[in-house]
Symmetry: D3
Subunit: 243 residues, 6 copies
């Protein structure tokens, strides 16, 4: 099986790091293919960036879907906290699509009664809130934020460990959190040391999404075509846009 991990931003270093981090979560025989969009924004720090990220992710899915059947990905993971572009990707892809946020939250719910998302920067808290509410988990989740831009993790995230340990300790003490969800792609390096420091599981969404996507494939499950995410056959290409 081949799972495409779509990084909705154009920073290929980040793509490489999320693919590397998720490798151990994939099934034996599953190939992970990191996709960095040809066009877009270097990091997704705002709702404006999310619009570009969704367009980038969608364009990449559409491009990959035009490949020969044997070359098309069997499933997709969208590697941006907030799951920008996931609904559109579901319509465009022939196989299932998993967002890293929904995967992280549903995974954390299997191992912790209450848990806390630590996202960054604070202005993106709404993206976490949005997915929490789409799933309905607000009674079990608190969203916290660290004041660093997403671009701060372009070359690794270990320098943020002290900030995450501090915020994580507050989560355990004040939110009754029993696990932490890392609220941004590109934080995979933190999983081990943060988990050790807190004595609590730390969930990284891209890995969680790869595991979910692999599981859907193994079960033969794909996106329902009944209504919401049916392939929009009649949808003409957007006018005047070269994609």
């Amino acid at each position: 099986m081949r799972i495409a991990i779509i990084n909705p931003n154009t920073t290929s270093a980040m793509t490489a790091s999320v693919v590397a981090a998720a490798t151990s979560a994939a099934r034996e025989g599953t190939e992970l293919v990191g996709i960095t969009p040809a066009h877009g924004v270097p990091s997704i720090e705002s709702h404006i960036d999310e619009v570009h990220g969704a367009a980038s992710a969608l364009a990449e899915v559409q491009r990959l879907e035009t490949g020969a059947p044997g070359e098309r990905p069997d499933a997709y993971v969208i590697a941006c906290f907030g799951d920008t572009g996931v609904p559109a990707a579901r319509e465009a892809a022939s196989g299932p699509v998993v967002g890293m946020t929904e995967a992280a939250l549903s995974t954390a719910a299997l191992i912790a009664h209450r848990f806390t998302v630590i996202t960054m920067p604070p202005r993106t808290r709404e993206m976490s809130d949005r997915v929490v509410r789409t799933l309905g988990l607000e009674h079990r989740v608190v969203v916290r934020a660290i004041d660093e831009p997403v671009s701060a993790v372009e070359d690794g995230s270990l320098h943020l460990l002290p900030l995450f340990i501090d915020e994580g300790r507050r989560a355990l003490a004040d939110d009754a959190a029993e696990a932490i969800v890392l609220g941004c792609a590109g934080l995979a390096e933190l999983v081990g040391p943060l988990s050790d420091a807190l004595g609590a599981p730390v969930v990284e969404g891209v890995s969680a999404a790869v595991a979910f996507a692999d599981g859907l494939l193994a079960q033969g499950l794909g996106t329902s075509r009944v209504s919401t995410w049916a392939a929009p056959s009649a949808s003409p290409a957007p006018e005047g846009v070269a994609e």
Copy 2:
């Protein structure tokens, strides 16, 4: 005051009709400017279309914001049920931004205890559900759908009146609905005859949004810049995209 009504699709006939319909909702002295994107999709029928619609709407807001201060709109209305692009537009615009869906729902809540959205086509029901849940109104709203594409209303919507009357009667009988929200831009012609047929108020979202935008301006209120929708000053333009 000048309010730009952004139609996120490229069908200028639809822009004209929504502006015409909303005129009576605007304050005296408020100028409504209909904006049809240069690039995009002719109608928004899916989540894929929503991605393009959000990009189109955002591009138009950004273009208008580069105008001389006296030429920039004072506020914006996004005229697509589902409020695609509204969060990004909030960041990009110097003035307030109102989505037609959030405006329609909050307006209906002022005049009816329970109410029903009639949207189209059925596959877009998720867009209504999404805004209902963002506001938290699920205990008072039911979402119904008619099986017609958005493109069916390109040249007017009166031919759909019988379908809306049938669905509206079911809403009153089965949902305990006391008002109807029209779940699509371009349905303004239905307001009068549908309201007459049902004996219940019918809310059209673009008009509702214009009234809300005008009201925000009169109160001197604009989008909070504290965090979520702050202007993303450092956000570079997307690479390799001519917008």
Copy 3:
């Protein structure tokens, strides 16, 4: 158009101040008429006071509705945080009725992802909670309170500014609030200085309600008569009460 602003308490100074504050929110050509009840309580500090306030507000609406058609208000605003009497006024009034609380909350939701109500005194927190829950906004709103009676603002509210700034700062820091809703009529003087001090929008409910009422009138929308708020034609006058 004529909008009656019903102050449910008998303190005419408060009526005057809320009307003055809301004037700039009204449309050109809209006349605001402040109504101080002939009978009732001087300020609404409790649920007991709310019962009297609802009766006072209803009596005034009923009195105004007996006027000649040209003299009847086209719409009503109930100027008491908690929206006491609004449902009854909807039944009694021929035009739409807007509560200051529902208007303030729906307005804040257009400009802020999360926001905080600062009400007073603490014992009235339930009134805010009640309207928040009627709208379903509890996932986006926190209710805070200042320990001052409503009567403290009879002659103006600027002396409370330091208390509101302190509480507002806590709201921004601890609630992730991005806007403040003033949880009491008679606080309009605080809008400017509090907004300046916090760097965040401050919503005043009577102004918000006037804007909403004006908008409903412009859209030709009134209270649904389908069921809940139909005019109770058969309802006899209460026995033994001279109202």
Copy 4:
């Protein structure tokens, strides 16, 4: 112990019937005193009527509280579906106050996973919805309505049995209801025959409230005076109203 059952309307026949119906629910040694207001409306069919009903109920509680300590009721039940006036009565009364709606709903939740309220007339559905939401039971309760005015039960309710059986059967079949809550005072005669016809428990709220009030007294529990329902010591009597 003495429990006052306050009928918020002025129809003494209804007071007599609710007291009679609740007698078997009271503890031995508990005296039930039915109170018919001196002033008010003959039945509560609307939100306007609710305003009058709340004022009537409050006035009666205040009158009873001025009695000698040995003559004051130890607790109160408000016998109107929708619990109009209950919060104010809590502030005015020295002992606990129980609404028939909150009591009926919490009682039904002890004996049925899901249940249905059958209220009347349809326009009062909002009153049921309101209490359901105050308690948070919306995931377990459906509200249905029969198209009869409250005044129809002034002289007994057995003539409505066929309508309640029909609606109750729909509730069991379509709502997965396992018990029925009678959504109006004055329906106690229906409890036995409706329960027999449906093979399901039928909860009558005044009886449920009497049992709850008796239970609070036995536990030595009264309304919390910490904040919301503290006695409003400083609250002056309403001006110009002889109560």
Copy 5:
């Protein structure tokens, strides 16, 4: 009437103390019978213990139900915070069954707008959360915990008073709580002194459950047999288990 209070653990001292504490809540003529399981765990500190507690409680109910009709309890109270075994007991018992947690929460909702559960130890917080959510009261309840095992109250709970006072004060100050629910059986001694120290009502669940059970009996109400809690007539005894 005879109400069996089932202590799901095997510590007879705890049974004796909860029966003693609940006596004053029972109606005159109601006999309270404390039941200590023959088999099980000495205290319920975990979900593992809950499984054993449910089995113990169920076995005792089944044993009591085989008694002669005149000897069978008329109703049951399950005296463990978290209401372990209550659904099964409902199926097994001929009379109604009330859990101490559901009773405590519904009782507190009658006397306080918002309230706080103080449970112990922290790892059992999920049990409180679970019942809060089953009832839907999460908008009015906060759950706090004290770090003591349930076994600490085997010989009385007064030594924990300072801890409960501290936590209770935090609840009033930080949660806007207006009443306290004791989140564990065996804490009845705290009711008086904690209530005095806080100036707020303190609800003890076993007493609350006895009052509710007594009330159900007086109303002639029992568990609905329509579906969920019908007696499972065809259910064979578990194989290989001597119960």
Copy 6:
């Protein structure tokens, strides 16, 4: 890796069939071990049965955990709709534990906006409702039931296909469902033909849970020991029970 699939009932034919059905969902190299309890009930049709099922499942987990490290399962799946015993198993197991219901619901949420659980028999609807609410998915899920006992699928489920097709069609038409969750273990044979008949994905929970468990192992994630599901080290064995 070795995943133990615990069938909480004693019917070994059902164990064999659920293991067989889940095999294709497991990762290469993962060994699935079906566990049929030595003691318990032959099928779980009620809350009484759930108590026995939880005890059986817990006993088997505890027995397996006493094995040599190399023989202990790495993870567990509890194969009963309603997830009976899952919290206790989490405490007892050294590896992660996944319930088939939580796994099925979270899986369906990845491929369908709204979906419907079809469970059996109707009296077990509460078990589905309970897990839906624990996850918070009630805004996206409807629970339907077929009137057959669980024991009806002891020797296969294909004879129930027509009933599931009928109910599934109602779900698609009336609930706007876009996928079906099979609400009982032992229905795996239905996945293919039901999916074909409805044109919609059908989720089988044991397979979903195996995939989730495998994914947790691949991510190195296990049950949080911070609080709720910490191993209860001090918990003595239940007295007088030979397990």
